[in-house]
Symmetry: C2
Subunit: 417 residues, 2 copies
Amino acid sequence: MAVKLADVAARARVSTATVSRVLNGNYPVAENTRARVLRAVADLEYVVNGPASALAAATSDLVGILVNDIADPFFGIIASAVQAEVSGGVGRRPTGVAGTRTGDGDTRRTPGSAYGLVPPGEKLAVVCNTGGSPERELTYLTLLQRQRAAAVVLTGGAVEDTGHATAVNAALSRLAAAGTRVVLCGRPPVPPEAGALKTGPIPQTRTSVERFFSSRHATPRAPAALSPASPSPGAVSPVALAFDNRGGARRLTEHLVSLGHRNIGYIAGPAGRTTTRHRLEGHRAGLAVHGIPDPAHRTVHGAYDRTAGYDAARELLRRDASLTAVIAANDTAALGVCAALRDRGLQIPGDVSVAGFDDLPFSVDAAPALTTVRLPLQEAGARAGRLAMGREAPPPGDVAMIPAELMVRGSTSAPHS
Amino acid sequence: MAVKLADVAARARVSTATVSRVLNGNYPVAENTRARVLRAVADLEYVVNGPASALAAATSDLVGILVNDIADPFFGIIASAVQAEVSGGVGRRPTGVAGTRTGDGDTRRTPGSAYGLVPPGEKLAVVCNTGGSPERELTYLTLLQRQRAAAVVLTGGAVEDTGHATAVNAALSRLAAAGTRVVLCGRPPVPPEAGALKTGPIPQTRTSVERFFSSRHATPRAPAALSPASPSPGAVSPVALAFDNRGGARRLTEHLVSLGHRNIGYIAGPAGRTTTRHRLEGHRAGLAVHGIPDPAHRTVHGAYDRTAGYDAARELLRRDASLTAVIAANDTAALGVCAALRDRGLQIPGDVSVAGFDDLPFSVDAAPALTTVRLPLQEAGARAGRLAMGREAPPPGDVAMIPAELMVRGSTSAPHS
DNA sequence: CTGTTAGCGCCTTCAA
DNA sequence: TTGAAGGCGCTAACAG
């Protein structure tokens, strides 16, 4: 980029410091001076140099949202909610300096009028797709740390490999230590020992809330790296919003049992992930409560997608023709199960009942409508977003359990005979 | 962040320049020196300061992917493909310097061994959710320009408001002028006039391809901002991969006509967007070809979601009870249509045929399976990703039309009587 | 192969 | 209310 702050300053006949103040709206500037500066900015189509700004101020407005699979609506819905909260937050910056706002949103203004200007406090919410790969997860975490992200939200189940978990927790600790807010959404909290593993001094950065409600002319950003170390270098446990996967799965299985099912096939998600394990544990607990045996051959692992559900259903039927119900680890896989059953000429739920998990938007439109467990993805994502922005107080103990709700629909009924 | 390059240099007893060279792997360094540096990096848990690095090098490794609705699988699938190509690209950096790689992927190594290290050339693909809001689209574009993004991929239909279109095109021109590669995916090309509106000199940055295949020790990045202006400051028209929405819609409608339908309801997407218009035009063309009248009351506009489809279907039936078929602007809305018909006690396709668009993964599992138009979202996204990385040559004229394929399934049949 | 030395563009005290 | 000036941490010539 050619045009820089100095160019704007020259054209507005002020110093670079003044231009900076106008742009950041964090310091009083005379009204007509401000106007001159803004005109110069528009005329020159000046756009702030993010890196330079971030370097000098030691902060950035990036907020990272890590998801396991962006093509899966489960994550799309969460990410969307987080993003909306982060960059469209209601009541953000109530005392914003008028002159630095984007304007009235009138897109028919002369092009260039609002160029390069973004409402102060506006964060760049950014979704990072790990594809479920541990390496990529770490890579993104590192990249976000490089960028000095303001906050990071990790969504969905975690990989349970000890080495990886340790590495991730260490990365999160470093992030937190660097002043980045870390929030877990739909992911179990970091075990205390892990969180306490390595912790440097935690700089006490002022929260966004504090900034939002401080005096009209906010004082300059606190130099996080220079602030004195906090007294207790205790465990850095990120705020966690965990889904009640275990409870939801248990209630789902109990629902089937109550209908009279005894031979229930279970298609679990990919092995070695917390979500997979918790749902499976819930399922088994549901069986155990009623003293129903659970032979290993009735469980198959697969990915969280349609094809996996399809294949797994065939495999289950091959192994055990006496099945009267199949539970899939999520709705997408459940659709695959339905397809496999139909291809075998089996009626749902007449011959075999089917159930899913998540209650994604399309589940109610399957035929028959899918019995499943509803997770309030949108609400949880929004809450995670507010937590990431420091706009909501963390739950007691920094952990909240998000309830799951059983949705009984047409795909389950009493077994045939 | 406390630990900086100088700290690492001190610990490794080398100069900062050497550390930088090791980290960037773009210059020869003695093997044992490199080892010392890497050990120091690991010991100190050093993580590069992204902003500082970006500032000094005048580039960043951010790649932005703009989507209208991240919760919609249509965009999720495209974004996923782009991302995979951008950050997992096959054969990227074939001559990479071994020592600077993350390692063998062994997550059980001592935590800290690979910290802060990311494979050279690794890009941070980042998905930005505009929510279909023009303002947010511009904001993201500005924010990405601030960050000096390496590339930007815009996906999905564009808003047709003239003022907004002009503003977006101007923003894209500025991005391009700043050396950011711009790719349109599933979005019509920028009209020549618009693209030519404002164009500064286009710095001739070396493409990634050139970098990838240059000598073993790649020479330093070209100083884009300082390179001489290109001879022809012509129009900056970004590479565009457009979907054949018009053709697909036309074939879909002709399919219904060929089955004998004459009274076809059409649920268009939100007004004022290119995708909506193109699909509607295709539909009308399909009717016109066969001389079938198209009274205005048979078209209803709505969002691209289930609820909109549901409501619109009820409205259409209210207006015209003679309908024998309903086409929805996308599959999600089509599901809503099916639900509305079922709620009215109508059979699909016995009483009313239904068709969608996009062929999202769940469409084949609807009951009956949805007749629709398949768009190769995954393939298009991957191609867009490669284009964004400069790993694939742009199509002739910088525009490629991605074909749409009619998928005839169970939800359409000849009308009843 | 390695060290020295200027900046990169902006923010932010300190003065005025 | 405004200006002057010193970094922020890193990269990239240019020597050696």
